[in-house]
């Protein structure tokens, strides 16, 4: 990767230069000296840009604005400019391990004047890599489990609603419920199966019940939304899951679709419509904020703590929602909300997006620390006692990171859990 523009050693000018009979003597005749540019491999840039979705890769003009905002670069050596340069100097992105590091967080896209879009480029190239059989082992396992069981955790499809047995309030399952609901709550895989995700799901069920919301869940008829698998290169798996979920959404009568996770929000709002799903969705923070007047008086118990909020990439940058989660947190009495330096539009990524959730060991070989660890250190530096989140990928990621960085005192809680605590004491 060292063939750089700085390789041009001396500017060399002929006193007279006559090319094809034209006298081009003058300061600019240096243009005709062979330079290092002839060593470039534009075909490897084209290989990416020729893919549907990969086009913008070729637009990069190497300004490097993307590098300081790339969360992976902060713990390693990464970013669109560097990937372009690598391709230019001989790296085939299709076969390179670098292909799997981007979390599709979209922070580079925010600052790129040339609209080089990793959120499109990465899945396009990864799809080819998957078809060629180049998938990191950990990721392959997540794909296989999702294909077999409908969730990347490898748990039984029939057990998807097992968490509701722990609920002290009713959680109607559409198939048995047998009547229309106002809110169809798409729970998601991690809140259905992961122990810490279940805590958030139970909290949500209590909040919905307290607000008197007429809601239902799909339970065993719900499958993973598949969007993160799509971004990791498995578009066929995504389509299979989407077709299933769309059929289930259309099977029942409901008014509003509410999701626990930002990745599901992205799936249902941006990707499922391409497959014929024509209804919108709300993240739970957006939905609850609509009920804030009703919710506020219920938040009786103080939570005396300094809390910071981690903007999920797929709620913030991808869907422009920064305020709803903050309004909910501010409604909790006693709670002091502090902002981290990297917040809102410039929010740091937890490392879970774009398949990162299932590539932790793989990524470790390319970074000095996990993105989640970097983020936890930032939260601690801002004096937070609680790191509040609202994406089901994050609770387990940040809890692990708090432990591994020796910050066990930092609590990681979903906003749902905080609201529930404030309601119940």
């Amino acid at each position: 990767m060292d063939a750089g523009l700085d390789k041009v050693d001396a500017i060399f000018e002929k006193e007279t230069a006559i090319i094809d009979g034209v006298d081009i003597s003058g300061p600019w005749n240096r243009m005709f000296k062979e330079r290092v540019i002839w060593e470039y491999t534009p075909e490897l840039i084209d290989k990416v840009a020729d893919l549907p979705g990969g086009e913008s890769f070729a637009w990069c003009y190497q300004c490097a604005k993307c590098i300081p905002v790339c969360p992976v670069d902060m713990v390693g050596n990464y970013g669109p400019r560097k990937l372009y340069r690598m391709a230019q100097t001989g790296t085939d992105l299709h076969k390179s391990e670098e292909l799997w590091l981007c979390t599709t967080c979209a922070n580079c896209l925010r600052v790129c004047k040339k609209v080089v879009d990793m959120v499109q480029i990465m899945p396009a190239v990864r799809e080819q890599a998957v078809l060629d059989g180049n998938v990191p082992e950990e990721l392959q396992k997540a794909f296989e489990d999702t294909a077999k069981f409908g969730n990347p955790l490898g748990q039984g499809q029939r057990k998807r609603a097992a968490w509701t047995k722990k609920s002290d309030v009713p959680v109607p399952i559409m198939k048995k419920h047998g009547q229309p609901v106002d809110v169809l709550w798409y729970v998601g895989s991690y809140p259905s199966y992961h122990p810490r995700g279940i805590d958030a799901a139970l909290a949500a069920a209590r909040i919905f019940n307290a607000l008197g919301i007429d809601f239902g869940i799909l339970g065993p008829e719900e499958k993973d939304d598949g969007d993160t698998q799509r971004l990791a290169g498995e578009s066929g798996l995504f389509e299979m899951l989407a077709e299933h979920n769309i059929a289930m959404f259309n099977k029942y009568e409901w008014n509003t679709l509410v999701v626990t996770g930002p990745h599901e929000l992205n799936a249902f709002k941006k990707e499922y419509p391409k497959l014929g799903f024509d209804r919108s969705a709300l993240h739970y923070t957006q939905f609850l904020v609509q009920h804030l007047d009703q919710l506020k008086p219920m938040l009786k118990h103080e939570i005396k703590a300094t809390v910071t909020f981690h903007d999920p990439c797929y709620l913030g940058r991808h869907h422009g929602e920064y305020d709803a989660p903050r309004e909910l947190l501010r409604a909790i009495p006693g709670l002091e909300l502090v902002e981290m330096g990297r917040c809102r539009e410039n929010g740091y990524c937890c490392g879970g997006g774009g398949g990162g959730m299932w590539l932790d060991s793989f990524t470790q070989n390319h970074t000095t620390m996990r993105l989640s660890e970097r983020r936890v250190l930032e939260a601690v530096a801002y004096g937070a006692e609680i790191l509040a989140v609202c994406c089901p990928f994050e609770v387990s990621r940040f809890e692990d990171a708090a432990k591994s960085t020796g910050n066990d005192q930092l609590k990681v809680l979903d906003i749902l859990e905080l609201l529930d605590q404030s309601m119940r004491g």
């Binding site: 998938v135 294909a147 069981f149 029939r158 066929g236």
Partner: protein
Amino acid sequence: MNIVVAIKHIPSLADELEVNDEGTNLDYDMVDFVLNEFDEQAIEQAVLVKEASGGAVTVVGVDVIEELDGVLHTALAKGADKAVKIVGDLEPGIDSHTHARWLADAIKEMDADIILTGVQAADDLDGQIGPMLAAHLDMPYLGVVTGVEVAHRVATLYKEYAGGMMGKYAVSLPLVVGVQAATKPPRYAPISKIRQIAKTAVIEEIEVDDDGPGAAVMLRKMSPPVSTGHANMLPGDAEAVAEKIIAIIKERGLL
């Protein structure tokens, strides 16, 4: 070379297993079925042999709950050339004797040079399909194999023994191999490829009659194990826990 893989569709252990109301077997309505994971290894090994030495791979299985197509499409996406399913008016819980007889009858028509099958399956753990196939087909059998190579009609088979010993066998074709693990981890079949294949692939069907249990053994009663002991969780931080562990070890005279 005709490479045949005999596979088995079995209840998924990711599900909570429940016993039926009669207490005679699993409640098969309450479980999903998956491909036996040793058969997954057998398919991979078969495709590796084909890639190294040429030939065609045929995958054959009994379609117990009429959901075997997905498994067969996946095998085709991974490199198998032909898929065959044994169908009929079947109920789950078919014993391995019957399974082996049906598979052997089907394989007899395939002019097989080498037959690979998972060394055992999680549903009965009896590891009988391979040996019984070999008996029906009058071929030699070697099980718990972790690597297969074929050249000049001789199969070189690797088998791991306890204590880090490795056995290497040379067996003339035809033969039946019980695969413990393929030389490489099973490859990934992209779903788009599987779906593409599902649209065009023709799965050959062989009809059988379920004429009752094939072995003298019949399952009379099944129940979840009764827990006899329980684990003691030691509360406290690492140091406190360590002290308690030492105290317990001393108390029981284990040192």
